[in-house]
């Protein structure tokens, strides 16, 4: 059975960037969210295996989503993909439970290496 994937980014281009480099095994069951509120609504109502999450977004940002996931006790593997590459931010998202931090624009080999590291592919 294919894994369910959620991509959350306010940029259409950034969502497409992730979509086009997802391995085949992850690209069959993909949903999209344009901000943190939409992402949390999906996560609260459906079982999602993997979340690719931007940080700088309107309404509710990526940090808000990570906090929401933690508070609700939702089980999902989160990979943060962000342009906010400050070390303090990278540490913060990992402390909040993200599996990895990937800098934008995300590259195929970098994504694959993280997915392998976490036994997803």
């Amino acid at each position: 059975m294919s894994l369910s994937v959620l991509i959350c980014d306010d940029s259409n281009m950034a969502r497409k960037q992730v979509l086009r480099i997802l391995p085949e095994s992850l690209s069959e069951n993909v949903q999209l969210a344009t901000n943190g509120v939409e992402a949390l609504e999906i996560l609260n109502n459906q079982a999602i295996d993997m979340l690719f999450l931007d940080l700088t977004m309107p309404v509710v940002d990526g940090i808000g989503v990570l906090q929401g996931i933690k508070e609700a006790g939702i089980t999902v593997k989160v990979f943060v993909i962000s342009a906010d590459i400050q070390p303090e931010m990278q540490n913060k998202v990992l402390e909040l439970g993200a599996k990895a931090f990937l800098r934008k624009p995300v590259q195929l080999d970098v994504l694959n290496s993280h997915l392998k590291e976490h036994g997803i592919i």
Partner: protein, 210 residues
Amino acid sequence: MNNVNLNDDQQDCLQEIINVAMGQASDQLARYLDTFVYLKVPSIEQVSSQHLSDTLKSEAQSVAVVSQGFFGYEGIRGEALLMYQPKDSDRLADLLGYEPDELSVEEQIIDLSSILTTTFLNVFASQIDNQMSYSAPRLLFSSNADNNTSSQSSISEHIQHNAFNWEVALKVKISYQVTDYSFNCDMILLIPESAIINITSVIDRILEDY
């Protein structure tokens, strides 16, 4: 009034390019200041030169304004306005790690402005296959240097003197907040329509891949 006319995809692509540049500039700033820089989603809007002073009014409560021009290949050019709103401007030297008498506050602000502008625009340029050169940063207004002038009138005067040679521009506003020091800086990029036309053609090439 002319129109810059970016469609939704072009605006989204430009915003994403700006996001990446903003992220790298904030990382540089955070390392330089040894602190954390809080980022907001940048705003992009069209402005006319006629109404620019009015649109800058909300940003004009600044204690200092620095202007720096930038020039790339293929007619890409514009101006960066760095507008500082520190709640406690006396702490700027502390923030920058200078000794109290090492540099004047004005020199410190110019230093910081140059770092922010060039870091942001170098990353921005590399993403659109361009390369920027810069004019020397110029302090337009400082509450420390001139207590008789408001930042609003200084900016208006600057706009009038430079005439900008454009009718319509894109105004990109990026806010850097250094919460540890209660320090805020807005970077406003004004990119005239002739330059936007060139940027748009690069954006279209990027979008062809999607």
